[in-house]
C-alpha cells in the first residue's frame, strides 16, 4: 500500500493529510491534527470568572468567539441577562472577527491558490502581472485590517479581547470613535467588493482550469444563524437536511441529542456527525440556511450565488465564495450598527457567583461554538468546548477522498493532487488550535 503524506500550510495550526492508495484505488483519506492544546484539561480548577480571559488564548484567530461564548456560558450559570446595548457591542465584536477571518481566509489563505503563488506576500514574484498583484496584496491587507480595528474598538484588545464581561461589556462606544470607524468601513467597503469580484472571477477561472468545484455530494448543514439575516449571537442551533429542508432547531444544552462525537487514533481532534451523517459547518452552511442577508450589497451577491449554483449548494469550493458574501455583509451590518447611538444605557448588570452548569453559544466564523462549564465553589470543575471545525472533520475527509479519486489512477498519481488537497482543506478553513483545545 502507498501512503501519500501532505504537509499543510495557509491554515490555522498544525495538521497534515494522509491518503492511502492500494492498486490505484484510494482506500482512505485522513485529516490529522498533529498538535494538542488541551485547554479542556488545564482550565480545571481555575476561577470561573477568569474564563473570558483564559479561553481567547485557545486560539488567536478565533479568540473573539471564545471570549463571547465564555461570557455567555457564565451568564447562563449566574442567571444574568446582559442589557441590549451590551448585546449590540458584542455583535459588533463578532462582526469585526467575521471581517478579519473571512478576509484572511479569502485573501491570505486561498487567493494564492487561484493565482498560483505560494503566499500573498510573494504574489508579486509569481508569473502574472506584478503591478496588479502587489495591488491585490495591499488592498487585501487593508480590508482585513478593518476587522482588526473593529475588534479593537468593540473588544479593547486587538487579539485577545477583554471588553465582554459577565453581565455585559465594559463600555459603550463614543460617537467620535464610532464615526472614525464608520469612515474607515465606508472607505473600504467598495474596495472589499471589488476584491471579492476579482476573487469570484479568479475562482471561475480556476474552475475552468481544474474542471471541478470539489466534492458536491449532498450533506447536512449546521449553523446558529438567523433565517432572514445572519445572527452571530443567537441561542439556537439549526440543522438543514441535504434536500434543503430544515430538520432540527435546538438550544445548545440539547446538542448531545443531535450530534454524535467520536475520537480517532490518528488525530488529536475528534469528529462529530449529525446522527451518523456527514455534516458541514462554516460559511456554506450559513448561506444555505439563509433566505436573505438583510443588507443590500450582500443580498445581491447571495442572489448571484443562488442563481449560479442553486440552493442548497453543495460543492465545497463554494465555501470560499460564501465567505466573500459574509465579508460584504459584515461591513454593511457594522455600518448600520455604528450609525446608531451606542451609549444609550448602562452596559452591564451586576451578578453574583453561583455554582451550576451552563452553556454559551456563538456563531463563530467556522460555525456554532459552544462553551459548556460546570462551576463548583466558584471554580471550573469541568469544561467542554464544542468546536465547529470538529463538525467539519468527516466532510473534510470525504472531500479529500473525492479529490484523491480524481487524481489517482492505476497508472499514476497526478501532481495536481497536492494542490487539490490544499484547496479542499482551505475551503473548510479549519482551525486546529480550536479543534484540539
Amino acid at each position: 500500500m502507498t501512503t501519500l503524506r501532505f504537509p499543510l500550510s495557509r491554515i490555522e495550526g498544525h495538521a497534515r493529510v494522509e491518503i492511502e492508495v492500494q492498486d490505484g484505488q484510494v482506500v482512505a483519506a485522513q485529516f490529522q491534527a498533529i498538535e494538542m492544546r488541551g485547554f479542556r484539561y488545564f482550565v480545571q480548577g481555575t476561577p470561573a470568572e477568569q474564563m473570558p480571559v483564559i479561553t481567547p488564548r485557545i486560539c488567536g484567530v478565533c479568540s473573539t468567539a471564545h471570549h463571547v461564548a465564555s461570557v455567555k456560558a457564565l451568564e447562563d450559570i449566574f442567571e444574568v441577562e446582559p442589557p441590549d446595548l451590551a448585546k449590540e457591542i458584542r455583535e459588533l465584536l463578532l462582526l469585526g472577527q467575521l471581517i478579519q477571518n473571512q478576509a484572511t481566509s479569502l485573501f491570505i489563505f486561498t487567493m494564492p491558490d487561484r493565482v498560483g503563488a505560494s503566499s500573498i506576500f510573494q504574489m508579486d514574484e509569481s508569473e502574472a502581472d506584478p503591478e496588479k498583484q502587489l495591488g491585490l496584496a495591499q488592498r487585501s491587507l487593508k480590508v482585513r485590517q478593518v476587522g482588526t480595528h473593529l475588534i479593537t474598538l468593540a473588544g479593547g484588545q486587538f487579539i485577545h479581547p477583554i471588553k465582554a464581561i459577565i453581565g455585559g461589556v465594559t463600555s459603550g462606544i463614543e460617537r467620535k470613535d464610532a464615526d472614525k470607524m464608520l469612515a474607515e468601513l465606508e472607505e473600504l467597503l467598495p474596495v472589499a467588493c471589488t476584491l471579492f469580484d476579482e476573487y469570484w472571477d479568479m475562482s471561475m477561472a480556476m474552475k475552468e482550469r481544474i474542471g471541478t468545484w470539489g466534492d458536491d455530494q449532498p450533506a447536512f448543514y449546521i449553523a446558529s444563524t438567523g433565517t432572514t439575516r445572519p445572527q452571530l449571537n443567537s441561542n439556537t442551533i439549526r440543522v438543514l437536511g441535504p434536500d434543503g429542508v430544515e430538520r432540527a432547531s435546538f438550544a445548545p444544552h440539547h446538542f448531545r441529542d443531535y450530534l454524535d462525537y467520536q475520537e480517532t487514533e490518528y488525530s488529536y481532534a475528534g469528529q462529530t456527525s449529525y446522527q451518523g451523517e456527514v455534516m458541514r459547518a462554516n460559511s456554506l452552511a450559513r448561506i444555505n440556511l439563509a433566505l436573505s442577508m438583510g443588507t443590500p450589497l450582500a443580498d445581491e451577491y447571495l442572489d448571484k450565488l443562488t442563481h449560479t449554483f442553486g440552493k442548497p449548494a453543495h460543492p465545497i469550493l463554494l465555501f470560499d465564495l460564501c465567505r466573500g458574501i459574509e465579508l460584504v455583509y459584515a461591513f454593511e451590518r457594522a455600518i448600520e450598527m455604528l450609525s446608531k447611538d451606542l451609549l444609550y444605557e448602562d452596559t452591564s448588570v451586576p451578578y453574583s457567583l453561583k455554582d451550576g452548569e451552563g452553556y454559551g453559544l456563538v456563531e463563530a466564523p467556522r460555525g456554532p461554538l459552544i462553551h459548556h462549564y460546570t462551576v463548583k465553589d466558584g471554580l471550573i470543575e469541568d469544561a467542554e468546548f464544542i468546536i465547529p471545525t470538529v463538525h467539519n472533520m468527516l466532510a473534510i475527509e470525504r472531500a479529500l477522498k473525492v479529490a484523491g479519486e480524481r487524481y489517482v489512477s492505476g497508472e499514476a498519481i497526478d501532481l495536481e493532487l497536492e494542490k487539490a488537497v490544499g484547496r479542499v482543506v482551505r475551503a473548510f478553513d479549519p482551525c486546529i488550535a480550536c479543534a484540539t483545545q
Binding site: 500550510s9 490555522e12 494538542m36 488564548r57 488567536g60 484567530v61 514574484e125
Partner: protein, 290 residues
C-alpha cells in the same frame, strides 16, 4: 521588483504549540512587508522549509511535543538571530496551567496516539533548547512591538511599566477594603483600577504595550512579564512589590493580596511568569528583553 525584494533581510516564523495570536499580530503589523522578505511562515506561505540564507527566526508558541523540539533545533541552526516571540515561547505561557500533577495526568493519557507527535509532560520555553538573542514578551506583542523587534529593538521608546502608559489617576482618598472579583463591578473611567479594588498588575509589569487593556477598563494581567527592575530577580521580589503598591493605595488586608498572588489559578499570568526565574536556568538578562 523581484531583484529588489531579494536583497531585503530575510526572516522566517516558526510556530510551535500556540494559538497563532502572535502570527496574527505580526500580520497586523503589515509595515514590514516593504522592509523584509518573509521566507517561511506556514500560516501564510506554502513553503515547507526554512531556506539556508535566512537571517532572522521568530519563534512563537511553547515546546509541547517532540516534533516541536526537532523543528526548533533545526531552524535555530540555520539562522543568525533567534527572537522568542510571545508569552508561550518565553515562559511557557497559558499552557503552564497544565503543569499541575492532576492535569498532567489527564493530558499524558492523550499522548500515545498512533503516528502522532509525542507530547512532553509540560510546555517548555524555547530557551530550554536553543539560545535566544532577543525576547519579545506579550500575549500577543502588539504590532508596534513586532516592528521594533525586527527593525530597531534598542531604539524602542516604551515606558518601564504599564502604569505610566495607562494614565488613569491614582487617588489617595479612594481606598477599597477588599479585592473585587476579576470582572465584577462598574469600572469608573480615568481612575486607577487598584483604587477601584481590581487586582491590576500594571504597576510592575513591563510597559511598551501602551496599556491597551487597562485604558478600556480591564486590569493588567501581566502578560509582558516583570519590568526591568524585577526581571533578573526571584519572582518573590516581584510579588512583594505588587503587595506594597496595594498596601499604599488600598486598605485591602495584605493576606488577601498574598493569597490572590500565590494561588496559581487566581493569578493566571503571574503564574506563567514565575517561570522567568525557574529552576537552574540563569536569569534572562534585561538587555535581551524588549
Amino acid at each position: 521588483m523581484t531583484s529588489q525584494k531579494q536583497t531585503l533581510p530575510r526572516f522566517a516564523v516558526l510556530q510551535l504549540s500556540g494559538c497563532a495570536g502572535c502570527e496574527v499580530a505580526l500580520i497586523n503589523a503589515s509595515e514590514w512587508v516593504e522592509k523584509y522578505q518573509l521566507v517561511y511562515m506556514p500560516l501564510v506561505t506554502s513553503t515547507h522549509r526554512i531556506p539556508a540564507d535566512t537571517e532572522i527566526l521568530l519563534v512563537s508558541g511553547g515546546v509541547r511535543n517532540d516534533e516541536d523540539v526537532y523543528n526548533l533545533k533545526r531552524a535555530a541552526e540555520i539562522v543568525d538571530k533567534v527572537i522568542a516571540v510571545g508569552t508561550c515561547a518565553i515562559s511557557g505561557g497559558v499552557a503552564n496551567l497544565g503543569d499541575r500533577d492532576e492535569v498532567r495526568e489527564l493530558f499524558m493519557a492523550q499522548s500515545n496516539r498512533h503516528h502522532l507527535p509525542h507530547l512532553l509532560p509540560k510546555s517548555h520555553p524555547i530557551d530550554t533548547f536553543v539560545d535566544v538573542d532577543l525576547y519579545l514578551p506579550g500575549c500577543p506583542p502588539t504590532p508596534e512591538l513586532f516592528m521594533a523587534a525586527l527593525t530597531d529593538p534598542e531604539g524602542f521608546d516604551g515606558s518601564s511599566i504599564v502604569c505610566i502608559e495607562c494614565g488613569r489617576k491614582k487617588l489617595k482618598d479612594m481606598r477599597p477594603r477588599h479585592l473585587l472579583g476579576f470582572q465584577q463591578g462598574e469600572v469608573l473611567p480615568d481612575i486607577c483600577l487598584i483604587n477601584q479594588g481590581y487586582l491590576c498588575l500594571g504597576s510592575s509589569t513591563r510597559g511598551g504595550c501602551r496599556a491597551i487593556c487597562t485604558r478600556p477598563g480591564h486590569p493588567c494581567v501581566g502578560c509582558r512579564g516583570p519590568s526591568d527592575a524585577y526581571i533578573e530577580k526571584p519572582s518573590q521580589v516581584w510579588f512583594d512589590r505588587v503587595q506594597k503598591v496595594f498596601e499604599r493605595l488600598t486598605d485591602i488586608p495584605p493576606e488577601e493580596i498574598h493569597e490572590a498572588l500565590h494561588s496559581p489559578q487566581l493569578s493566571l499570568f503571574v503564574f506563567q511568569f514565575t517561570d522567568y526565574m525557574n529552576g537552574d536556568r540563569p536569569p534572562r538578562p534585561k538587555e535581551k528583553i524588549l
